[in-house]
């Protein structure tokens, strides 16, 4: 890998590069979705692909999510490897049958004879006053339903490696990218998501969490934007002499419970950060994983910093009041 070129990429560019490289090496890979052609994706993740591959393999679709996600399923079952974009995850309400009854169940209902090697990429997250039909994360809704892998990267390196792994996976993968991490200035982007990314294709294994900061006093678990909030909280806690360990889940399905449990074994304290709705979600699942394994690992009650169970409001101060942030994580630690 000595001749590998390393550049700093945004997640948007890393995703586009991953798709581009897979399309160059595998003629079965193609992209379908709304505004993924000439526009290059509303969130930049297919930029440049139309110019290189043309309209046959970079297919702008009508606004018909039920039809084109269903078509993704049919094409995948017939031997193609479609990458299908659901522009905002919030739009799943108009097309969920194609996703959870067809895409996610056909492998099972066929006894493993029908494979659905499809990537459904979709944007998540708020923080820019788009209100509750364009700002949700909904990670847990997808992760709750069996048969699809669910991943959400926090930085460009992981985004590229996970997208390549997702395209090569024989199971359907829901690739959830956070709008605030895309590197699109107009969305108030998180700069720390733009990182060094090798030009050569590589994979980041799905289902593996990563310890992104080592510590011994408390484990802070998050994904996507939550990881960045956790890292900022860890910096603040360090000023108080508290050593926080930060775990980036990266995948919700499969969920790397072992890495979380190992970390809590070391720290004895657990905070879960989640921008999805609090109840019945990621935070409950992660905490339960630890407690079921061995409840004596915890030296104090676990905490969660998640989105309250309310629709996401428009007004900036109201939305910011609801969103997880570093200060809330620090406060959660102090309350332990």
């Amino acid at each position: 890998m000595s001749n590998t070129k390393i550049r700093r990429l945004t997640i948007a560019r890393a995703m586009a590069e991953a798709i581009q490289q897979e399309m160059q090496s595998d003629p079965r890979v193609f992209v379908m979705g709304e505004d993924i052609g000439a526009l290059g994706g509303v969130f930049g993740n297919t930029r440049g692909l139309l110019e290189e591959f043309g309209r046959e393999r970079i297919r702008d679709t009508p606004i018909s999510e039920t039809a084109f996600i269903g078509a993704g399923v049919g094409a995948a079952q017939d031997g193609m490897r479609p990458v299908v974009e659901l522009m905002f995850v919030d739009f799943f309400g108009v097309c969920f049958d194609a996703i959870y009854n067809n895409m996610a169940k056909n492998n099972y209902f066929s006894g493993g004879n029908v494979k659905v090697p499809m990537v459904l990429m979709t944007s998540t997250g708020g923080g820019y006053s788009d209100a509750g039909q364009h700002s949700q994360c909904l990670y847990a809704t997808f992760a709750h339903l069996p048969g699809m892998k669910v991943v959400s990267p926090s930085n460009a390196y992981d985004a590229k490696g996970m997208m390549i792994a997702a395209i090569r996976d024989d199971s359907p993968v829901v690739f959830m990218y956070h709008k605030g991490l895309q590197g699109m200035g107009w969305l108030g982007t998180e700069a720390a998501a733009t990182v060094d990314t090798p030009e050569q294709p590589y994979q980041v294994e799905l289902g593996k969490a990563k310890i992104v900061r080592e510590g011994s006093d408390v484990t802070i678990v998050g994904l996507a934007m939550g990881v960045h909030n956790a890292l900022k909280a860890a910096d603040k806690l360090a000023e108080e002499g508290v050593n926080a360990e930060v775990v980036d889940l990266r995948s919700l399905v499969p969920l790397d419970r072992e890495t979380v449990i190992s970390s809590v074994k070391k720290t004895g304290r657990l905070i879960v950060v989640d921008e999805d709705y609090q109840s019945y979600g990621v935070s409950g699942e992660v905490i339960t994983s630890v407690v079921e394994h061995d409840y004596s690992l915890l030296r104090s009650g676990p905490k969660r910093v998640a989105y309250p169970d309310v629709p996401i409001p428009f007004a900036r101060h109201m939305e910011q009041f609801c969103l997880p942030n570093a200060d809330k994580i620090v406060a959660a630690f102090h309350a332990m």
Partner: protein, 348 residues
């Protein structure tokens, strides 16, 4: 004259050109489907009398029979090869049999046995046979998008094959119907949509659910040919479906066909069918397409002996499939935890 009307007038009614071999295949396949379902119907009731409990007996769960609708399946599938794709519905047996799905393994699947097509995970509403590219979904109209995708796949790979998506007349008011028709026409996909109009969406009649009397007119909205076939006639269905499938195969794009058929049974077994007008059932039974087809074949010179011989073959096939299913073992219950993902991975 609209394009749709023009197509209707061009529709050939001359069914004399259909080969005797094809007609006999159609008759035999209709009979196979009917005898299969009559047998399933009997077995389904085992353990469910005197008190009907859907969960009991060797075949638990819902059971949607297609008795009466066989002409649609054979008239369309007579034009299909193993490589062609079919997406079917919650009422899939006649289509599966006509497409050549492995009858033994399908029967075992209906019984929930290990030798079933998916080892008992799917059951009667989730029949998948990759050898003949057959699949179905229990959700109304939701096979249409996947049919478009399979057709797109063939087109992009420049591989032969067309997709046929069967739906019921109750599916035409789903978003998936309109979205898929638009997508198929927009991308000129080799797909044919076949509406089996059995007049009832469970208990709600077509006229009480649909603003147009005939759904073939809706094809005009998507600039594709629309065809309507009256009277559940297998030979006319064969002709019309053949035109549409040829068109799709030769790159001409999608078509929509609505076929007037009827179900002789209820929506599912256990349906009291109180919604049917008095006398409807008896009237439909008098129009049973299988004896009617037999009459035609006899009139054309096929002998009783030859047709009885086909019936014997069918009985043998059904008996063998049922025996296979009954004699097969159940998979270990823990198999429920496998095949969630490709390669059988299960993630706790």
């Amino acid at each position: 004259m609209t394009k749709t009307q023009r197509n209707r007038f061009q529709k050939g009614q001359n069914t004399m050109l259909i080969s005797r071999e094809t007609k006999l295949w159609m008759y035999k396949t209709m009979l196979l489907s009917r005898r299969f379902e009559e047998t399933i119907e009997q077995i389904y009731l085992e353990g469910k009398t005197p008190a009907f409990n859907m969960a009991n007996g060797p075949i638990p769960g819902e059971m949607h029979l297609s008795n009466g609708q066989e002409p649609v399946a054979v008239g369309v599938c007579a034009h299909l090869n193993a490589e062609d794709i079919v997406t079917a519905t919650h009422r899939p047996h006649h289509q599966a049999i006509a497409k050549g799905v492995d009858l033994k393994r399908m029967t075992a699947e209906i019984f929930g046995k290990q030798t079933g097509l998916s080892g008992g995970r799917g059951g009667h509403m989730h029949i998948f046979d990759t050898n003949v590219n057959f699949g179905c979904s229990g959700i109304i109209a939701q096979g249409m998008g996947p049919a478009c995708g399979a057709a797109l796949s063939r087109k992009m790979q420049n591989k032969p094959g067309v997709a046929v998506s069967f739906i019921g007349e109750g599916a035409v008011n789903q978003g998936a119907f309109h979205e898929s028709l638009n997508l198929a026409a927009l991308w000129c996909l080799p797909v044919v949509f076949v509406v089996e109009d059995n007049a009832w969406g469970i208990s709600v009649s077509k006229q009480d659910s649909t603003a147009v009397a005939r759904n073939d007119v809706r094809a005009a909205a998507y600039d594709m040919p629309g065809h309507f076939v009256e009277n559940n006639d297998p030979l006319v269905i064969y002709k019309v479906a053949g035109d549409a499938i040829d068109r799709a195969r030769s790159g001409g794009g999608p078509s929509l066909i609505e076929i007037e058929t009827f179900r002789l049974a209820g929506h599912f077994m256990g349906d009291a069918e109180a919604y049917r007008p008095d006398g409807e059932k008896a009237f439909l039974e008098s129009k049973d397409p299988i004896p009617a087809f037999r009459k035609i074949l006899l009139a054309e010179g096929t002998t009783d002996v030859a047709l009885d011989h086909l019936k014997d073959q069918v009985e043998e096939q059904v008996s063998a499939a049922i025996a296979f299913a009954r004699e097969s073992a159940y998979a270990p219950a823990e198999d429920a935890l496998t095949q969630v993902f490709a390669q059988g991975e299960y993630h706790e």
